[in-house]
Symmetry: C2
Subunit: 247 residues, 2 copies
DNA sequence: CGAGTCTTTGATTATCTTCAAATCCCGTGG
DNA sequence: CCACGGGATTTGAAGATAATCAAAGACTCG
């Protein structure tokens, strides 16, 4: 036994990470907290965990103990149908919370997988409940995050229920660029961390259909597509596709 | 002006309704509370509101003030795409909570419409946050309800993304009968409160497709369909359809 | 009883999936 | 440094599923 994290399992780092100095604090759980409250939250978020690309942060059925805030990297969550094939339910980037589904039954209801080398803050759930009984701002922020997830899911249901392939892909790309922009990245240039198949699973499409939609956007001069390197050339065109959905 | 509720607007009844004596307390927010806690929750849930069939309980964009627990009746919630057509995101029956989407931004993000004459308990949200800071059991129960909604939504995403028409309808009917059974109704006989179009909107299908799926189930002896009166004749067949989905 | 809504059913069409094969790309090891 | 291997992506052709269009029939509510 030695101190190095084993290369093939998610390493636990007992490293202290201060929410107070985290550049994600305006996107994450600490929104609105004052200095003293931040300090107490930091006492709770004592652990960080590294998750190498391709590894699970947690699996469907595992006991739920903590929420995870993405610090760096990129995740997908998927639920599995009983026979094996699965549905990607979301992609999570820095500042977003993973594991909310686990509260309902003390067990996780989906898999969370890192799509690139990532690290997360571990937020022990019982302690979070305790602290949010003390600080109404934290309580409210936590509730807002859960509610936002519900609103997001309803948006995905609208997408899956009413939109056609190209409209779905347009909505997906706009959503991604918006979130990247909120984190200081370009609104027009992005590198996809997921495969066509994972995009397809999220959008309720087969990978070939996703690929064809990308090609169509390329032909139409809406996107420049170089494998996973995407440049948005005509954002209004994407917007129009989404707005005119289900006409 | 007179005391009668106006027939075309949801009436406000200042009637005291005791959670403590409500036969839904094992399905609703009060789960796990002791007598004294129940009493305090009752102090908060002071109002009941009647919503006639076809009326809105709240609308997309309205200010969010309170959650609503369905006391009697049946609701649908829908989100609208920008152009007009909308997606039903859920059907709610007795003991289920409406309005959770509103927490995220202090405004409702969907419409809630009564599908039959209904009544709800009004739960002022700020007060609920206050009380759940005092009672950890209430707090946890509330979190579980939000988390359960997220898990449910992920299930719908799986349905919309991976299942074919008949599989979707089977999953829908099994879900309905399970919830009705939990409320003491028959697991094999039910009256649909929604139109084929509303079912279709929820399932991402057109009303004709829903109708054809019902006819197919009737032919195959899986269901007896008399308009909205449905009898499940072969529940295992429905289960198989759902389990084998996306093979 | 009648109007209007809801539902069913048939025929045709659009969209997406499936199957298949070629190509691209990245990391690895020689 | 370059060739190789395997996963990822693109593209084409054929087939399946659900949408659309259309019309008739059934039920509900006033």
């Amino acid at each position: 036994m030695h101190d190095m994290p084993t290369p093939n399992s998610a390493a636990i780092e007992p490293l202290k990470v201060a929410c107070a100095s985290c550049n994600l604090r305006e996107l994450c759980l600490p929104v609105g907290l004052n200095a003293s409250e931040l300090d107490q939250l930091d006492g709770l978020v004592a652990k960080r965990r590294a998750v190498p690309r391709g590894e699970h942060l947690f699996r469907n059925g595992e006991r739920f103990e903590a929420l995870y805030a993405v610090r760096t990297g990129f995740f997908k969550t998927c639920v599995g149908s009983e026979d094996g094939r699965d549905q990607v339910t979301g992609f999570q980037m820095a500042g977003e919370l993973l594991g909310l589904d686990g509260i309902s039954s003390d067990h996780h209801h989906c898999d969370a997988v890192a799509l690139e080398d990532s690290s997360v803050c571990v937020i022990p759930y019982t302690q979070l409940e305790g602290l949010s009984r003390e600080f109404s701002v934290l309580q409210h922020q936590f509730h807002k995050i859960m509610s936002r997830e519900i609103v997001r899911d309803h948006g995905v249901m609208l997408l899956l229920g009413n939109m056609r392939a190209e409209e779905r892909l347009a909505a997906f790309l706009l959503n991604l660029t918006q979130r990247l922009q909120a984190r200081g990245f370009s609104a027009s240039s992005l590198v996809l961390r997921m495969t066509r198949e994972e995009i397809g699973s999220y959008l309720g499409l087969k990978l070939e259909t996703v690929s064809r939609a990308f090609s169509k956007f390329q032909e139409d001069g809406v996107l420049d597509v170089k494998q996973r390197q995407i440049t948005v050339l005509d954002q209004p065109a994407l917007q129009r596709l989404v707005s005119n959905a289900a006409c």
